[in-house]
Symmetry: C2
Subunit: 215 residues, 2 copies
């Protein structure tokens, strides 16, 4: 019975890890679709998201079954419950990539963002992929050091996000209101993506150390 439990729990954690990687991949593709006004790629991110949502439902059902049949306690119980919470964050990360892809699709064949801010979004996309991959690894390794890297990436994303706002508020912004609205939303999507990854990292650290890291 206990072996069954740990086998099933491993499988839940593997699914979560895959979901983090897929969310990072979705944001990588969404960023490419955004910067290159690539409609087929945007469509692909949008369609692929169904798979991540399905993985979430299946993982939640698997976790409920684990709770019902095995009634884990103490540390095992916390791992099951926090894995369910992490699965929801990973799905949401994919949902934010979907939102980026939808803006790319809405503006096609135009580019959604002015060339001046392309560098920001390329960098935010790069950090998002890193965050997805780090979350993917941390979920398996449960290494607090590696989880700390997620927090550093989250800080880097916040800094880019703030800088983006400063640029738009500046009188030198010559791209008008419509572009500012898109850039505002896009910036928020990347920032939230990082927040969810950081949340996953913090839950892992809490499981291992019993302490919530400073935010």
């Amino acid at each position: 019975m206990r072996n069954d439990f740990h086998g099933e729990l491993d499988s839940l954690i593997q699914t979560l890890s895959q979901m983090c990687g897929l969310a990072g991949l979705a944001m990588e593709r969404a960023t490419q679709a955004l910067l290159q006004a690539d409609l087929p790629l945007a469509e692909r991110v949008i369609t692929d998201h169904d798979h991540l949502s399905l993985m979430q439902s299946q993982a939640e059902e698997a976790a409920l079954l684990l709770l019902a049949l095995q009634a884990p306690v103490a540390g095992d119980l916390r791992v099951v419950v926090s894995s369910m919470q992490n699965v929801a964050d990973a799905e949401r990360m994919g949902g934010l990539a979907l939102h980026v892809a939808k803006i790319a699709r809405r503006r096609h064949p135009d580019y959604a963002v002015p060339e001046e801010v392309n560098g920001f979004f390329a960098e935010m996309g790069r950090i998002a992929v890193d965050l997805g991959n780090n979350a993917k690894d941390v979920v398996l390794s449960r290494d607090p050091e590696q989880a700390a890297q997620i927090d550093r990436d989250d800080d880097a994303m916040d800094q880019l996000h703030r800088h983006l706002f400063t640029m738009m508020m500046d009188e030198k912004w010559k791209h008008g209101v419509a572009a500012a609205v898109d850039v505002t939303l896009l910036g928020r999507f990347y920032e939230r993506f990082a927040d969810h990854a950081a949340q996953i990292g913090r839950r892992i650290v809490f499981q291992v150390t019993g302490e919530t890291p400073d935010i």
Copy 2:
């Protein structure tokens, strides 16, 4: 033992219900702070949010304890787990009210939004309060009819949100980029507030009917 269980579960659900009401109240006050450039009220919303976050931690701990000590199965298990998920949504609703209050604080003594869109935000605030109060009631009544009202309010919020965007994209928008950035973010905060309330409503309907309502 079973009576203990249902007493503890009731207490968890009461906390969740209170949290929904408090989130609605926070958005009511944040909206007032926004529309009247009322700094003390904005500060109050920001400070009060700690209480909601604390309620979330305590509710999550209570739910974990229920799972560990009572090992509920079937319907009872689903109610405990979905209450935990609902608690996270209610906390997030309060977090979005906090974001609205922070924009009001950042722009003080100026008004954050142009007078032209005041009516929109007043209406979005009114719907948000409704959503909070309906979620508060539905959590207790578990009435699918009442949950359907949450979905209708969510639709109304989406419509206002879209209309707001149309206004900003219009050439007649004379309030510049900075105001558009604030209005974009604010619109998103109200829309997400409604999404989280709708999510709570859908989980309740699923518990009662076993079916996820169409979104």
